[in-house]
């Protein structure tokens, strides 16, 4: 009755195991140098142990072929990640964030438990293979139930709006290598679960489910990227942006579900491929960016980008890596981000032309527009984080005296940066590989459309490099006979350029703040004392309204219920008799 742990190896699991290990290796190398920072206050072996446990449990989740073992590993994953989040327990807010995170993951765990319980009820087994056999004949309402539970269960772990609020809390508080793992890999594990349940167990869902997923994905994307814009904490910005990427992937999945419902398997496999590819790419560049943020933190000891600046001189290598990451995340070819971005947009467009129902078309169209806006905003946000952090000149003392980064950290970043370029340039091959498998998920054979002449990107890259090189040579020749002088920036008439005359991160996003400020209820206070001082605050509206109110409700109930347990002994005796009478009435009436 109590099952042991079972493993399987179908290609989906293999793919995700591959992602996990791919990210884990550089992060592990990075960790070796990074933990030096913690040697003073904390126990380092404990952290290493937890990380290994974390990664192992994630591999267990994606590899397990049985509901029970899936849940077991899932919970172990949550627990270990929780203890990693509160690893720096000296700061109170970390504890708060950690507790919030753990409660959210526990919610997701409970939903999943109930979901698998339903699957057990319908199929009479915890085994995935058994479930697969039976699940062909599911009635729509059964599909609805399981879909809803899966949406909440995995969604809470993925951080889709409105269940995202733990993401921007937990990721900044965790040590950077851990947040790289969490945002790069853990979210993908949740996605894996969602894909497995929806596309493999249920084999497509009713139309509404697809539409819901599409809408939720789009909302998540736009909401979280606009929040990310206004953050001045690097890691918080990155956390929001990973929520945004999850939103993109989710939207793509939604498209795929809609298309499956219209029985356009070919396109569906295109969208699914886009989602899976973006999983891989996002895993790579997001963990790269988190590692960079980690080294900035290591070197300067601050996460607030308004205090940073001009790091490119002291930390050249990190700067280059971050630049690559930034290009990738804002979908600049030939870095990997753009390949999946193209596929996602493309699946949107092709879906518009194929689907027959006009309302669905308009829906997809507007979602597509919003997604495009999102990618623009992503460009905006990441350029901000890179430019303000590394370029210009130091904005504070912290940014001027930087520690040197140990070699192992640089190696870790370097590997990931290499991966970013490689997966970008050779994306066509990866795409064709993935599409092959997505085809046999959706039980269609033959090449899906839309994978033609993707190889163009390689030609493009080669040409680009070639021409740039020519120009470079030309430039060298041409600048041989010229003097090259270096002096200060023109300071618009001031004597010498003070750091504070340059744009800060908050200033950089003023335009967006003016228009979209309400979404992350951004408010700015200017008080004109002897010196003009400006203070800005942002907070998550969903968190403010949804979570706070639910907490209020719980508190109210608690105060009411606590009254039962306290009071005079006579009252307690009365409780017994009242409950006796009620029970008697019930029993005599109904039994």
């Amino acid at each position: 009755m109590l099952p042991l742990i079972y493993f399987q190896n179908d290609w989906l699991s293999t793919y995700f195991v591959f992602i996990i290990i791919l990210i884990f290796i550089p992060v592990a190398i990075y960790t070796k140098g990074y933990i030096m920072e913690y040697k003073k206050h904390y126990n380092v072996n404990y952290m290493v142990f937890l990380i290994v446990l974390f990664v192992a449990s994630m591999i267990g989740v994606v590899a397990s072929s049985n509901a029970i073992s899936f849940l077991v590993f899932w919970e172990i994953m949550s627990i270990s990640s929780f203890f990693l989040v509160i690893y720096e327990y000296m700061h109170k807010e970390n504890l708060k964030a950690g507790i919030f995170y753990f409660v959210m993951t526990h919610i997701s765990g409970l939903f999943l438990m109930v979901m698998f319980a339903f699957l057990y009820k319908y199929t009479g087994s915890f085994n995935f293979s058994e479930i697969l056999k039976v699940s062909v004949g599911f009635a729509p309402n059964q599909k609805y139930i399981i879909f809803t539970l899966a949406l909440f269960g995995f969604g809470a772990k993925m951080g889709i709006v409105p269940l995202h609020a733990w993401l921007p809390k937990a990721h900044p508080t965790a040590p950077s290598n851990v947040s790289a793992l969490m945002s790069g890999v853990m979210l993908k594990v949740a996605l894996y679960g969602f894909i497995r349940v929806i596309f493999i167990f249920l084999r497509g869902t009713p139309l509404n489910c697809g539409i819901i997923v599409l809408i939720i994905g789009t909302i998540t994307a736009i909401f979280s990227i606009l929040n990310a814009l206004l953050q001045s904490n690097i890691k918080k910005l990155l956390a929001y942006s990973s929520a945004e990427n999850i939103g993109l992937i989710f939207a793509a999945l939604g498209i795929a579900m809609i298309l499956i419902d219209y029985n356009l398997k070919m396109l569906a496999s295109l969208a699914l491929t886009a989602a899976l590819l973006h999983c891989l790419n996002h895993a790579i560049f997001k963990s790269l960016l988190f590692l960079n943020a980690g080294s900035v933190l290591y070197a300067t000891g601050t996460k607030n980008m308004n205090e940073l600046g001009g790091l490119h001189q002291k930390m050249k290598f990190t700067a280059i890596c971050t630049f690559i990451g930034t290009c990738a995340i804002s979908a600049v070819p030939p870095f990997n981000g753009f390949a999946s971005e193209i596929l996602i947009l493309r699946s949107f467009i092709e879906a518009i032309t194929m689907v027959s129902n006009i309302w669905v078309i308009i829906l997809i169209f507007s979602c597509g527009i919003i997604v495009a806006l999102t990618s623009g905003a992503a460009f905006y946000a990441t350029v901000k984080s890179f430019g303000i952090t590394f370029l210009g000149k130091p904005r504070s003392k912290k940014a001027e005296h930087v520690k040197t980064i140990p070699l192992s950290m640089n190696i870790g970043q370097g590997i990931l940066a290499m991966l970013t370029i490689v997966t970008g340039v050779f994306s066509p091959f990866i795409i064709s590989k993935i599409s092959f498998y997505t085809n046999n998920i959706l039980e269609i054979n033959g090449e899906s459309p839309g994978f033609k002449n993707e190889t163009e990107i390689i030609t493009f890259t080669l040409l680009l490099i070639f021409i740039t090189f020519i120009i470079f040579i030309f430039n060298k020749i041409n600048s041989l006979n010229q003097k090259q002088q270096i002096n200060d920036t023109w300071a618009c008439g001031y004597k010498e350029d003070k750091p504070y005359i340059q744009y800060t991160g908050s200033g950089f996003v003023q335009p967006a703040a003016k228009i979209f400020g309400t979404i992350s209820n951004y408010n700015k206070k200017v008080n004109y004392k002897r010196t003009i001082h400006i203070s800005q605050t942002t907070s998550d509206i969903v968190e403010d309204y949804l979570y706070k109110s639910s907490l209020k409700a719980v508190n109210f109930l608690t105060t009411k219920i606590l009254k039962i347990s306290y009071g005079k002994i006579q009252l307690h005796i009365l409780h017994i008799f009242i409950s006796l009478i009620i029970a008697l009435v019930l029993v005599l009436k109904f039994v």
Binding site: V332, I342, G376, C492, Q502
Partner: protein, 282 residues
């Protein structure tokens, strides 16, 4: 040409090229703050624009071409944008920051228009390849409303992307009004030359895409002398026509405030939705 419209005698058409050559001869002055971005940036920008120029049809198109994917073109301009913005931030000056901020804001708003353009073209021609698109569209004799609406949208997008009036004023050097200029304020000499040249090329490339995607009448579809000739002439005419149009816009409009400019985009998007519905309803 613009000058004539403004009523005074402007400099000759080759004037810009003369400027460039002059700049190339100058030495370069680098801010002591600037990083590898400034060092390689301009060349990459120029390289990217030239590369894109290879990927578009000018006056000859066919179905056999395997290059010219519209996505790649659009994302390639992403490279340019990236580096320009970063250059702006690189030299730690005020206007650089301001310019790049506004630039990236505008481009963020312009992104949906580009997507809409692609959606529309795909609906029309069921392809993403510029060559194929122009090949197919060259068969169309009269254009329906949606087509024209999209064309207008694309024109606006071009104005936005190339930082022309009403979004930006390329001539002036009064700092508060400029975006593109502000970013490259601290470049000089050959770097400036590269950037300027690339911006010219970028404008032309956009115009060519516009022409060949929306009004590709008479473009050569067969590799014969006559066809090529016709194609070339018609192309020149169309190009001149477009430049004229831009010139008219630039002289009639004044540069609007940033947010006034931003308000144009929602309008464009609504137009886009109208166009899509038109296609499916008509």
């Amino acid at each position: 040409m613009k000058a004539t419209l403004r009523g005074y005698r402007g400099s000759s058409v080759v004037q810009p090229y003369y400027d460039l050559s002059k700049l190339l001869k100058k030495g370069r002055v680098i801010s002591n703050r600037s990083s590898f971005i400034t060092t390689i940036g301009p060349m990459v920008i120029l390289g990217a624009t030239i590369t894109t120029a290879f990927f578009i049809p000018v006056f000859y198109t066919s179905m056999e071409k395997t290059i010219g994917n519209l996505f790649i073109l659009m994302f390639a301009f992403g490279i340019v944008k990236m580096f320009t913005v970063l250059i702006g931030l690189d030299s730690s000056s005020t206007f650089g920051g301001m310019g790049s901020s506004r630039e990236s804001f505008i481009s963020m708003m312009a992104e949906p228009l580009i997507l809409f353009l692609m959606i529309f073209l795909y609906i029309e021609t069921n392809d993403f390849n510029v060559f194929h698109i122009s090949f197919i569209n060259s068969k169309i004799v009269h254009y329906d409303t949606a087509h024209l609406i999209t064309m207008v949208t694309f024109v606006i997008a071009i104005l936005a992307e190339n930082a022309r009036i009403p979004f930006d004023n390329p001539e002036t050097h009064l700092e508060l009004t400029m975006m593109h200029e502000a970013m490259i304020l601290d470049l000089s000499g050959s770097d400036l030359a590269y950037v300027e040249l690339s911006s010219y090329i970028k404008l032309i490339v956009y115009l060519i895409i516009l022409i060949n995607c929306f009004i590709p009448i008479g473009i050569a579809t067969t590799f014969t002398i006559s066809a090529l000739l016709i194609g070339f002439i018609s192309f020149i005419f169309k190009l001149l026509f477009c430049l004229l149009g831009i010139a008219i816009i630039e002289t009639t409009f004044a540069k609007s405030r940033l947010f006034r400019g931003a308000e144009l985009f929602p309008a464009m998007i609504s137009m886009g939705i109208v166009a899509i519905t038109l296609i499916y309803i008509l």
